[in-house]
């Protein structure tokens, strides 16, 4: 089984429930860092990462600029900034124009992560109401990474999964439970490989 270095997840409307369903079942020893963009209104508070941190075994925090990306942590993009990954595996942030009406934008994170992690990246698109992430996921695939999309008929809002599927030949189209067990299995493989 091919080894992966990082998971990126993008979602908007309905994302809180979807993220909770996946992240709360991942085991404490999960080996990959997970970088998340969830669209939020500009005046939202920091409920999202606190809430997820309470429910998950993994440590969930807001990504800060210059921070080194560490395995087994979940990083949430802060509101009002695009989140990018540097070659040094550190985060950078940008105050910039919205992309697809969104800041943070999923496309921006996915494209910069694909640049850095190339074939070792897993890109995941979940429920959402616009088409942000479709181009980003295409870039993940172009760099040889693995693409996963939530099955549209299982998504609270199906636009975003559908847009992603429309643009790229997706490797796995799965329900939330299936995505969670897929990632967990991957981790078990990584575990034995490392022994």
């Amino acid at each position: 089984m091919k080894q992966y270095d990082t998971v990126v997840i993008g979602t908007s409307a309905g994302g809180l429930g979807a993220l909770t369903a996946i992240l709360s079942v991942l085991p404490e020893n999960f080996k990959l860092p997970i970088l998340v963009v969830q669209h939020q209104p500009a005046d939202a508070d920091d409920f999202l990462h606190r809430h997820l941190n309470d429910l998950c075994q993994l440590n969930v925090k807001e990504a800060s600029p210059g921070e080194l990306i560490v395995a087994g942590r979940v990083y949430i993009a802060p509101r009002g900034y695009h989140l990018l990954v540097e070659e040094s595996h550190r985060f950078s942030l940008s105050v910039d124009l919205p992309v697809n009406y969104a800041i943070p934008s999923i496309d921006v994170l996915f494209e910069s992560a694909a640049d850095v992690y190339k074939a070792k990246l897993i890109g995941v698109i979940l429920t959402g109401a616009n088409n942000d992430g479709a181009l980003g996921l295409k870039e993940v695939k172009a760099q040889g990474g693995l693409t996963i999309v939530q099955a549209p008929d299982t998504a609270e809002v199906s636009c975003m999964p559908q847009a992603a599927i429309g643009m790229t030949k997706i490797d796995h189209i799965l329900s939330l439970n299936e995505i969670a067990s897929f990632l967990t299995k991957l981790n078990d493989v990584k575990d034995t490989d490392n022994d």
Partner: protein
């Protein structure tokens, strides 16, 4: 053999080197991921197929450089961004500045000027504007030109009154400008206390005797080396016990000036230069 992406990184290195040699603008210490995005975006608008094709244009076409610079400098800004911070400047910093006969403020990386006008409004409401001078600087001449005109599209002020009120605003934001259908112009009494000027944080000199420096959402684009350089500049420009305000996601931890400043209001990224410095 190098793959396509590694070649692209080398092309970007060469392009930034060309900009540096030809114009003295140093983007080599900017965070690469943002720069790469901007360069790709700019290439998409040009007739170049590869990033390296932009290099001869950099050397021989100044207008091409100007427009690339405009893209690289990321000039997005707004009035009263993070209103709680401006409230804290109003409530906590201004009372400490009241003792000075003349108040010097440096706004570094002011972009198109919205934050400088924000500050002028605050000073006016706290009765300090008549003794204050704001030096607002940026290295992007197009932004500085726009800032000096003080004219903004009316629609860019959407939600602005709300933000203004949550920053502790005492009147209506519309008291501070003249408006027609599409545009607003800030009142001359505010404009008179702001000097907009070109200044490049990577290579230009300190500003002497500043009581307050705002440098928000600029350091996030810089690597550690350049951050330390700019923070040294800020420290050396401040009077003893002067104030430094950074952006919401910026802080002094792990920087070369950490020991030179006390935390004044940690959640609002407000620092105060230690006495005796």
């Amino acid at each position: 053999m190098k793959n396509k992406k590694n070649i692209e990184n080398d092309e970007i290195d060469c392009l930034l080197e060309a900009i540096w040699r030809r114009y003295g603008y140093d983007f080599r210490h900017y965070s690469r991921a943002s720069i790469k995005r901007r360069i790709r975006h700019h290439m998409g608008l040009s007739d170049c197929q590869h990033i390296s094709e932009m290099i001869p244009k950099i050397f021989h076409d100044e207008s091409f450089f100007e427009s690339l610079l405009n893209d690289l400098s990321i000039s997005v800004t707004q009035m009263f961004r993070d209103p709680v911070v401006f409230n804290s400047i109003r409530q906590q910093i201004f009372p400490k500045l009241k003792t000075y006969a003349r108040i010097n403020i440096w706004h570094a990386g002011c972009s198109t000027g919205e934050e400088a006008y924000t500050l002028a409004i605050l000073l006016e409401e706290e009765g300090l504007l008549n003794r204050a001078q704001i030096y607002a600087t940026d290295f992007n001449n197009a932004s500085i030109d726009k800032a000096s005109r003080g004219i903004y599209p009316l629609k860019s002020l959407q939600n602005c009154n709300e933000l203004y009120l949550s920053s502790g605003g005492k009147h209506k934001i519309s008291d501070y400008y003249h408006a027609n259908y599409e545009a607003i112009k800030f009142k001359q009494s505010l404009v008179d206390h702001i000097t907009f000027a070109h200044h490049n944080l990577t290579c230009d000199q300190v500003f002497a005797q500043m009581h307050l420096i705002l440098c928000r959402n600029v350091l996030i684009y810089f690597d550690k080396t350049l951050q330390n350089h700019v923070l040294d500049l800020c420290r050396d420009s401040l009077v003893s016990q002067g104030f430094l305000v950074l952006g919401d996601k910026e802080n002094l931890d792990f920087t070369s000036v950490r020991e030179d400043f006390d935390n004044f209001s940690q959640p609002h990224r407000i620092y105060r230069k230690r006495a005796g410095w």
